[in-house]
């Protein structure tokens, strides 16, 4: 039959690779990455952590400042649990949405608890004689990320 402009649909045909072969390939990759983690063939690890309602991209020896109060004294070690992504030079582990607690461990120490610089909040309507000035000082906490560790328990 002759090929016209309407024989095949206008979008490109999508073909997925064979599921059996794909499963084999996936298992191989997972095993390789597990081996690499077990032997320790990674350099510096970075992690994406959800903390204080924000996401941070952190490495070891990193300083983080949050605009709120943490109920921990200065010098306390903290373990951050909501890890979204961990990566090294050759591999990344993407969580859906979080990675397991037995896979990653992120440790941090509270370094200092201060207040922010005095921010000025002013409202003014012209010709109405209305002006209000307020000075806002937020409490801040500074954390130092000590280590990021990963364990070879992929499957």
């Amino acid at each position: 039959v002759a090929k016209t402009s309407l024989t095949s649909p206008p979008w490109p045909e999508v073909k997925l690779p064979d599921p059996v072969e794909e499963a084999k390939y996936h298992a191989e990759v997972v095993q390789k990455v597990n081996e690499m983690i077990a032997t320790g063939q990674y350099g510096r690890l970075f992690a994406v952590v959800h903390f204080a309602s924000k996401q941070w991209k952190i490495t070891s020896e990193d300083l983080i400042m949050m605009d709120n109060v943490l109920e921990a004294e200065c010098g306390d070690r903290i373990r951050m649990e909501k890890v979204l992504l961990v990566g090294a030079d050759d591999f990344t582990l993407i969580g859906r949405p979080l990675l397991g607690k037995d896979l990653v461990r992120v440790e941090a120490t509270v370094v200092e608890k201060t207040e922010s610089w005095p921010k000025i909040n002013m409202r003014f309507w012209k010709r109405h004689g209305y002006q209000r000035k307020k000075i806002i000082v937020n409490p801040q906490t500074v954390l130092r990320i000590n280590t990021i560790e990963i364990f070879p328990c992929l499957s």
Binding site: W11, V14, L16, P19, E22, A23, H26, F46, V48, Q55, K57, L84, L85, G87, D89, T92, I94, G95, R96, P97, L98, K119, I120, N121, M122, R123, F124, Q131, K133
Partner: protein, 149 residues
């Protein structure tokens, strides 16, 4: 005898006018023209400056989000994906990175961004097959939803 009210010839005069004026002028020292020296002009400029910073603090969030979106769009076009396809498919594969993180990863971790783009592309193709094939073929591997309960 004790006088209960002050006599009329005693007046209270303002002694720290200088410091009250300096409180306003210190915020105007880097302005241009006479408004960095003259109090009357400085008061108006400083007031407008404060009001502008308060409003800008709310708009900074909108501005930064637009910037991140532009950067993610540019990076995903380098990998052959458009921004709505990239973000939509990432969300469908349950990866909840926000735009700030994806923009930072695109700048500092190009290999990670490439893998995220590949994930989005694969999820997109599985979505097409699921929509066109009408459920007779097996479900895609990357479209499986992970339940955490």
């Amino acid at each position: 005898m004790v006088l209960l009210s002050a006599p009329r010839w005693l007046r209270s005069r303002l002694t720290d006018r200088f410091w009250r004026v300096q409180e306003v002028l210190k915020y105007a020292r880097h302005f241009r023209g006479r408004k960095n020296r003259c109090y009357k002009l400085a008061v108006q400029s400083v007031r407008r400056a404060f009001v502008k910073t308060t409003k800008a603090r709310r708009e900074k969030k909108r501005f930064l989000r637009a910037l991140w979106i532009t950067r993610i769009e540019a990076a995903s076009l380098e990998h052959g994906l458009k921004y709505p396809a990239f973000i939509g498919n990432l969300l469908k594969s349950q990866v909840e990175l926000n735009r700030k993180m994806i923009a930072d990863l695109a700048i500092y971790e190009p290999k990670t961004f490439k893998s995220l783009a590949a994930l989005a592309q694969r999820r997109r193709q599985e979505g097409f097959l699921a929509a066109l094939g009408d459920g007779k073929e097996p479900e895609g591997i990357f479209s499986r939803i992970v339940h955490h309960y």
